[in-house]
Symmetry: C2
Subunit: 136 residues, 2 copies
DNA sequence: CTGACTGCAAACGTTTTGCACGGTA
DNA sequence: TACCGTGCAAAACGTTTGCAGTCAG
């Protein structure tokens, strides 16, 4: 469990109970889409409105607490901003796994070949995860 | 200019004038979002409806003629399916460039480290393109 | 000739907004 | 206490659908 109160305040947002529960749920899940987040948050805060979820997701993205991860063939998920990493997406169970890869050689290659200044990289590898491979 | 009539027919779709113009516009642009596509197509086929654009984009995706490219911080674009490649996205001029990178070592590494069967990879490098770097 | 396609309008699901009330700092 | 945040309902937005007419093969 992290100190989400401090996280919010250092990013110029008030630490309301709704925001704390939203962050706890995103943190526990790792990556979560709006619908699942709303369902989960309602379990501990059943009066919360969907508009509040949206407003807070957007506020936290604007204030660099969260980031949106766009995925092929499925809804975007949101995650707390952390160190640079990439994603595995299982097309069978829909699980998302953070992975670390050294992409510096690729990025350097592209920078020089295309004279493109790379500020951000997004990589999603889709396929079948270990668990689903074993289950079938 | 390619033979889009054959492309459509070999994918079990009728070669209507609307579809040919849609494909020509996507081909010429390389990658285009729905709004820009609608604007462009209207220039040569002003009676076309937005519903027809949507229906055809979806039909062509379902029949493996087109693919959707999801991009960070901006709308998805559509492109004609071609050989495997990745994308550069300029955050200044919004241009999208196809790039070729050998990602096999990364994918092999991930397959063995995570026991994940990789079927597809999506990589977007965002930043500033050469033209915009020179202009500023 | 027949099934597939088009264009319109209506419907739909998702996200945003306005506003009065409530809570954080 | 001042301002930010919440919750509700309504609005806006993007996309899909139903249907009658049309066209490609």
């Amino acid at each position: 469990m992290k100190d989400f109160t401090t996280l919010l305040r250092t990013h110029n947002l008030k630490a309301t109970p709704q925001r704390l529960i939203i962050l706890e749920n995103i943190y526990n899940d790792g990556h979560i889409n709006i619908d699942n987040l709303f369902d989960k948050v309602k379990q501990t805060f059943n009066s919360i409105s969907l508009a509040t979820i949206y407003k807070n997701i957007n506020a936290m993205i604007d204030n660099s607490i969260l980031t949106e991860v766009k995925l092929p063939n499925t809804k975007s998920v949101y995650e707390i901003i952390k160190q640079k990493h990439y994603h595995l997406l299982c097309n069978n169970c829909q699980s998302i796994t953070d992975i670390e890869i050294d992409t510096s050689s690729i990025i350097n290659d592209i920078s020089s070949r295309y004279h493109f200044q790379v500020d951000k990289s997004d990589l999603v590898l889709s396929g079948i995860c270990q668990k689903c491979l074993l289950d079938n």
